[in-house]
């Protein structure tokens, strides 16, 4: 009697034990190491760092292991860890002009100063399962002519890599970006309020769910707020992070991080306030996360409609409240999955209401029939 809803505490403990067992899988199979995940599932690690908003490949690899490969769960672990970290300063803005590029391509010019560097990309692979990868335990094949000498090796600071959009800017063909002296708001320290400025929007999108941002970007391509994007430039590589130390009075390098940056060039026929010119969208993400960076640039561009004097077509990607309120997968998955929690009380009150309304409706019908 009334036992079904009892025993929650023991059930939780048992469920956790079971989960730990499932996470490990068959004990006859060697356990994954953090280093293996970090090195061989690097793109998963990158996504967890980007959406977890914490640049730490080892912790991201640990989170993936603990989450059994569920990346949103891994992102959640990283976010929950990140929130407890003290904040002892801010870095200077990173200089992506000085990125040591492993990859750098432009879709708008066949060649440009700095060159096209294809880098490690899936772009031109044939998506055929490589069954040779199943033959485990064989000695590794000799490295081919992959990473060229000097591309990623440390040493002298890399030379400046010119920006494609700067060439267009020189001719006045693209809308100019003005430096903004204002300190950007911090989404993780201030509640999100609308309207949001561009810095805040970019901050939200870069940690937003890759799938959601991709879907939003895709919708603009399919006609829900078309903005005709070209990938002006996509670059991926290493930048150094500098921070000013108050005691020293100058900045020092505190480490290197990998970033993906995308600048789109968008067609624009002009508006009441702006002459015909190209406009820009911008994406910047942790790690090698190209799909996300390009999607981000498209969504950024769509959200700039007001600033550029465009019409609001009433499409989702132009609606900053819609995009920013729904892009965070930790918020989304939490609220979605919470409907698994008990709702007996609410359901009970609905049950009583519906019975009452039905009884009244039936009584009215009987009365009508009698009349």
């Amino acid at each position: 009697m009334y036992v079904a809803v009892k025993g929650g505490e023991r059930a939780i403990d048992a469920a956790h034990d079971w989960l730990a067992e499932e996470r490990r899988g068959s004990p006859e199979i060697a356990e994954l190491s953090i280093a293996q995940i970090r090195e061989q599932l690097a793109l998963a690690v990158n996504r967890v760092m980007a959406e977890g908003s914490l640049y730490d490949p080892d912790l991201a690899a640990l989170a993936i292991k603990q989450a059994r490969g569920d990346l949103i769960e891994a992102i959640f672990l990283i976010r929950a860890y990140r929130t407890t970290l003290p904040r002892f300063g801010s870095s200077l803005p990173v200089e992506t002009n000085h990125m040591a590029c492993t990859r750098r391509i432009s879709a708008t010019f066949k060649d440009a100063p700095g060159g096209q560097i294809l880098g490690p990309t899936f772009d031109y692979t044939h998506r055929l399962l490589d069954f040779a990868l199943m033959a485990e335990g064989l000695p590794a094949a000799a490295p081919g002519s992959g990473a060229p000498e000097g591309v990623t090796s440390p040493g002298a600071p890399p030379p400046e890599m010119p920006r494609i959009t700067d060439f267009l800017n020189r001719d006045g063909l693209i809308q100019e970006e003005h430096p903004d002296a204002e300190t950007p708001p911090d989404l993780t320290r201030e509640p999100l309020e609308f309207p949001a400025n561009r810095a805040l929007r970019l901050q939200a999108i870069t940690r937003g769910d890759e799938g959601f941002i991709l879907g939003m970007a895709y919708s603009t391509q399919r006609g829900y707020g078309r903005n005709h994007p070209f990938v002006g430039e996509l670059r991926f590589g290493t930048v150094s992070v500098e921070a000013e130390i108050p005691e020293l009075g100058f900045s020092i390098e505190i480490g290197d991080i990998e970033l993906t940056e995308c600048e789109t060039v968008n067609q624009f026929t002009g508006s009441k306030t702006e002459p015909p010119q190209f406009t820009r969208g911008y994406g910047l993400t942790f790690g090698h996360t190209e799909r996300k960076a390009i999607s981000m640039a498209l969504v950024d561009r769509a959200l700039r409609w007001e600033e550029l004097g465009e019409d609001n077509a009433g499409v989702p990607a132009q609606d900053e409240e819609f995009v920013l309120s729904h892009s965070d997968n930790i918020q989304g998955t939490g609220f979605l999955e919470h409907i698994k929690l008990p709702h007996y009380v609410d359901f009970q009150s609905e049950l009583e209401l519906i019975r009452k309304l039905r009884a009244e409706a039936q009584a009215a019908m009987h009365q009508e029939a009698a009349e």
Partner: protein, 289 residues
């Protein structure tokens, strides 16, 4: 847990939350934006309530957590354990012993006293959200006390169903100024909101805090000719015989036989311990042995 601060959150974060709480208490029913943190449990599991509790707890407090009125539902246990671990506070299942009670979807049946704090977990803090999805719009409506849309919705319910078709999260007017969402408590609980204890509401995902100071006027929205009706199942509790408590309906066999039992487990057990036994009830020791 020496790696984490008392009650998990760092002191700066707690100070930020306390400021929001003080503002919320100063403007009853007004939704104060706050910089909600990621917590180690998911959004929707009570992160707002957990942050409010973390900012409110002191080492001397006695903490109680209920979900659906019960102390032993899985999520209530999980949150209680979280604070046992991170704050090392004493916990209790007794409503009258607790100084802070975190709740999801219920107000305890036992009347709360001065000095107690009731912390609600809130999924959607905006009572106007389902009438107007835009935050910019709803904030304007609150600022202008523009609640016509809500009255129209309630009126349409009456026109269509003969009654206001909201059974839980039934909107209230606070101190003649702000329309407030009481969180998804059954409307049966609404009249209890005028109480001696402090009521704090935390919505983590939506980044809002609001509050009701003790003895604040809280009126469930209604019309003169359709007065508010806090309904419940018309049965006594099968275990303790109570006729004044909110009841859960439990299906007991494949034929769909039902029994009705108190949703507030502490209330039900206390009654049985003092000899109130319903038709299907026994003394608590025997039931839970």
């Amino acid at each position: 847990m020496s790696d984490y601060n008392f009650a998990y959150l760092d002191e700066q974060t707690k100070r930020m939350i306390r400021r929001a709480l003080l503002k919320a208490l100063a403007i009853p029913g007004y939704q104060v934006p706050f910089a909600s943190r990621e917590m180690p449990m998911p959004y929707g599991w009570g992160t707002g309530g957990v942050q409010v509790s973390a900012a409110t707890l002191t080492p001397e407090d006695t903490f109680k957590v209920i979900d659906q009125g019960a102390d032993d539902t899985t999520n209530a246990i999980s949150i209680r354990k979280f604070f046992e671990k991170t704050a090392n506070v004493g916990t209790s299942e007794k409503t009258e012993e607790a100084t802070i009670i975190q709740t999801r979807h219920r107000i305890p049946e036992t009347e709360l006293q001065e000095g107690q704090i009731l912390v609600y977990q809130v999924p959607i803090p905006e009572p106007l959200r389902f009438l107007e999805p835009r935050e910019t719009e709803t904030r304007r409506m609150h600022a202008l006390e523009d609640y016509g849309l809500m009255h129209v919705k309630l009126y349409e319910d009456i026109a269509r169903h003969g009654a206001i078709a909201t059974a839980y999260a039934y909107p209230v007017m606070v101190q003649d100024r702000y329309v407030m969402d009481p969180s998804p408590i059954p409307k049966f609980d609404n009249p209890k909101m005028e109480m001696a204890a402090i009521q704090l509401f935390g919505a983590g995902r939506e980044q809002r805090i609001y509050a009701l100071p003790p003895y604040t006027k809280v009126v469930s929205l209604d019309f003169e000719d359709h007065p508010f009706d806090p309904s419940k199942a018309e049965h006594p509790c099968a275990l303790c015989g109570a006729e004044d408590s909110y009841l859960d309906e439990v299906i007991t066999d494949d034929q769909g036989t039902r029994m009705y039992v108190c949703s507030d487990t502490d209330y039900c057990e206390s009654r049985r311990a003092t000899g109130h036994i319903g038709t299907e009830g026994t003394q608590p020791e025997e039931v839970f042995a």
